[in-house]
Structures are given as C-alpha cells and as structure tokens.
Assembly symmetry: C2
Homo-oligomer: 294 residues x 2
C-alpha cells in the first residue's frame, strides 16, 4: 500500500515559501516579481488555467498582468505584443497560454520570447541549457515532478527509472533531468513509447515509473514492481454516466491496482497537476532575482 504524494499540499507549501520570500523582498525595498500572461481567444479551459495563474500571483504577492486578445489577432500583431513584453523592464517573466489559434505558429511565438523571461521554459534556449546542465527555466511538469521527488525525499541515485512517453514537454525533459548528475537525478533512465514492444517488461524492472503517455489507466498493477514509486502525469476525461458532469478524470495509472503495490503514488487529480502553477511562480521568482541569466 502506497504513501500518497500530495501534490496539492506540496504546491501550497511551495507557494507559502514563495510568499514569505516576497514579503521579505518587499520589506527590504526590493522589486515585486511581476508575471504577465497572454491569452488569445475565449477557450474555456485556457481561461480557467490563466485565471488560476493570476490568482496564484495574488496569493504569493506577485504583480500580474493579463493581456487578452480576440482569436482573430494576427500572428504579426501577437509577435509585437511579445516584443513589447520583452522590452518592458517591470515584467520579469511571462507566458503565452497555449493552444493558440491555428493561424498562429506556437513555435514561432515561443522563439520570440526573450529566454530570460521565458518562465514556461519552452524556448529552445532554455531546453538546450537544461540538456547542457546550465542554469535554465525548466518547464512546469518536469519541474513539478522533480520537486515532488525532492520534497518526499525519494532516493533516485542509482535507481532504475522508466519514463513512459516521449513528448517534448514531459517525457523527454524528465528523462534528461532524472539521468543527469544531480539530486534528484543520477537515475538509469529508460524512455519507452508507442514503438516499445514490451513496455511491461521495462516497467517491471523500474524503481521509479513516470507515466506520461496520455492513455487512461494504461499502467496496471501487473506492470509494477512491489515498492516502486509511481508518478502519474496523465489526465484524461473518461465518459462516466454516474458523474453529474458526465465524465471522470483519469490518470495514466490504474490507481486502485497500482496503489496496492507502489511505495509512493501520485493521485489524479491532486498529484502532479497542482505543482505546475507552483513551478511557474518559482520560475518567476528566479527571473525576478536574475538567478538563471545573470
């Protein structure tokens, strides 16, 4: 039976630490960290995410600026907005909420963000610096996983870690972070994906499993070694007539089965998810203090 890794409580603890730090900064007459967010269009989920980020800024004492645009804004105009934020001294970091409308290239916009202000960590410079083990903004999900492992004092050095999923925003960066010489880190990492013929045999060999492939309840109890640490990154809506809203939220892990075998497990919701906003705040604080790019 596993100990539950409480992402909500951990995120709250990190937010409280940041809030304390901000109080101290203000007391000493320092600059209040300032996060901006660009929201294009009126997608409900995006709106909810961005509102959550603004509320979190208030909670920790950051300034925040929300820039909203209609979905028909041109790519060129959005680039000008980005360049404006790059030049705006008071803004320490900013994010462009994804997804963007189809006529705008998210990649092009991301590459226009000044790396020093790219607190989402999506700019190639930050990804590349991470690979090269240089100071970098690490994106929210991998960062959140690392923080959970750290806060729960989970030993990673010399452990076999199996990452299922190779996306450029979760699977690949977490495999790099966990394999490098650091703590958490120093894992022997195996990265499995849709072309891996026998994920089960790899998973059964793992001390730590990061499930990030986006298939609900993919990881079943028979795929997990007794005592493994299981981090569930997936979050899918699965039709469920018994629920008022018509669906249930499911992770990539068949929770009840794996719970019985794992030593630690993250629930869905309430595991990795809540950590993402804490990561963003943390990066913004680093930006404000110029800790990454000096």
């Amino acid at each position: 039976m596993a100990e539950i890794i409480d992402g909500k409580a951990t995120a709250l603890a990190i937010k409280d630490e940041i809030a304390d730090k901000v109080k101290l900064i203000k007391k000493n007459g320092g600059k209040t960290p300032h996060l901006a967010a660009i929201l294009v269009g009126d997608d409900g989920a995006s709106q909810t995410y961005v509102n959550g980020k603004v509320t979190a800024c208030e909670y920790v004492g950051f300034k925040s600026t929300l820039l909203k645009f209609d979905s028909d804004i041109s790519e060129q105009k959005l680039i000008e907005v980005v360049e404006g934020l790059n030049a705006e001294d008071d803004i320490d970091g900013y994010i462009v909420q994804l997804p963007l409308p189809k006529h705008i290239s998210a990649q092009k916009i991301t590459e226009k963000i000044k790396p020093e202000k790219d607190v989402d960590g999506f700019h190639p410079v930050n990804v590349g610096r991470m690979v090269k083990n240089l100071p970098a903004y690490v994106s929210a999900t991998p960062f959140g996983i690392m923080k959970l492992l750290e806060r729960y004092n989970i030993e990673t050095s010399g452990k076999n870690c199996v990452v299922i999923g190779r996306s450029d925003i979760v699977g690949t960066p977490i495999s790099i972070l966990l394999s490098r010489k650091a703590n958490p880190g120093n894992c022997t990492v195996t990265i499995c994906h849709s072309r891996t013929p026998d994920i089960k045999s790899h998973a059964l060999n793992a001390d730590i499993i990061i499930a990030a492939l986006g298939i609900p309840e993919f990881l079943t109890g028979d795929m997990v070694k007794e005592g493994a640490v299981v981090i569930d990154v997936g979050i899918s809506r699965v039709p469920d007539a018994s629920k008022k809203r018509g669906y249930a939220l499911k992770g990539d892990v068949k929770y009840d089965e794996v719970f019985e075998k794992a030593s630690y497990i993250t629930p869905v919701p309430g595991g990795v998810g809540p950590m993402t906003i804490a990561s963003l705040l943390y990066n913004t604080l680093l930006a404000s203090e110029k800790q990454i790019y000096k």
Copy 2:
C-alpha cells in the same frame, strides 16, 4: 562474428556526395559554401583537427577561412571576432575549436555564435531545437552515429538501445535522437552512467549499444547479447611499449571479444571518428542552403 561498420569509407562516401552537390551548385551559379574556423593557441591536437577540417573543405569544394589567435587573446576580443563572423554574409557556418584557454569561457563564446551559423551544433538553441524535434544542427558525433546506422540500414525501430555515458555532447543527445519518432530512431533507450549499479544487466538486454563513457575496453564480451549492434565512441591513449609512439588507441569496447558476438561493430580508429568531419561539412552545406533556419 560482426560486420565492421567502416566509418572511413562512409565518411568518404558522404564527402563525395557533398562534393558532387557543390559542383552542381557552382555550375548553376550558386553560392560556394564557406566554413570558417577559429583556432586559439598552439595546441598540437587542436591544430591537427582544424587542419583536417580545412583539408576536408578543399576536398568537397568549400571555401574555408582559418582565423588563428595567440592564446593570450582576451575573451572580449574573441567575442568581437565571433560577432564579426556572425555579421559576415559570405560565411555560412563556423566553429570555434575547443578547448579554449582557461581565461575564456567556452560556454559564453558558444552562446555568442549565431545559431544559424553554429554548424558544430553546440549552441543551446540548436540543442533545444533538437529536443523539440525542430530542424537543428546536430553535433558531429551523434550525427555521425545516426548516419552510420542509416547507411548500414540498421533497423532501430522498437529496438532496445543502451547508451553508456551521459555527456552533453554524446550520450545525452544520442539518447534523445534514438528515442524520438524518426528513422533512425524509435528505439527504447536506456541511458546508463557512472551511477548505474549494474550496467552489464542493461547492456545484455540491448539490441544496440552506444559506448560513450571514455573508459578504454569497458564493454567486454560477456556484457553483449549475441547479434547486438555495437557503436564505440571512445578513443583513449593507452600506454603500450610495443608501439613506436608509446601508446595504443583504444575504444570503450574490448574489440576482439565483442567482435565475436556483435552483428555490427565500429572499429577504433576508423569508426565514429572519421564521421565527425563529414558531419561538419554536411551541416555547413545545410547552412549554405538555409535548410535549417529558413
């Protein structure tokens, strides 16, 4: 008994293809690709490497420019040289031969190279773009390994690949390249390193082994599965009184033993090594044709 992967012949074939392409470009009145190299100080090995690159440029019909500086050049002056090359339209790509004298930060210099001209692929932007599966200059050794796998029609999809070594210039990038959705690629990649307690058990499970840890003859016959493909990236000087020069060149693979079990093997020297210059020429051609950054 293994088939030998002939890096020298493969590199020559690639160089001949590039030479043919350059002839065609010139015939059509196009721009002659132009590679520049910066060499600081009088380190013998560096001088040899750079000379090899200049000779290779001549072979394929590129223009080349060698910029030599005394080892007491200041960091600031070297940055100005780099910025000059960034601005020089005729130069498509350039390299800064490493190592640099201790008073100059190689990282700082690398980050000053315009990513569009970074044909060594060391700039964080190129590393990050590679991770994000965007067009990028891939650095010479991982690129050379990929080309060898491709030219020898080695099936990689769905195969277990074990990379031994996690350096930011070989182990980490090759693990990313081989795991991503591409051909070669689609491997289930395990990255082992100094903190892996049981490299042997991982290696025995591998269809493809990339040995890149820098320990001479580390990978012995008993660590290799019958029929595995073995790529040896190491090259170390090992004292050897029977040799006139006093040392022998050894890879990370105990060649005679592994040769008996592998299906394919790269020798040292003559395997991955000769591919690196071919990779540099290939990247320079891409730069000249603006294929990566459009």
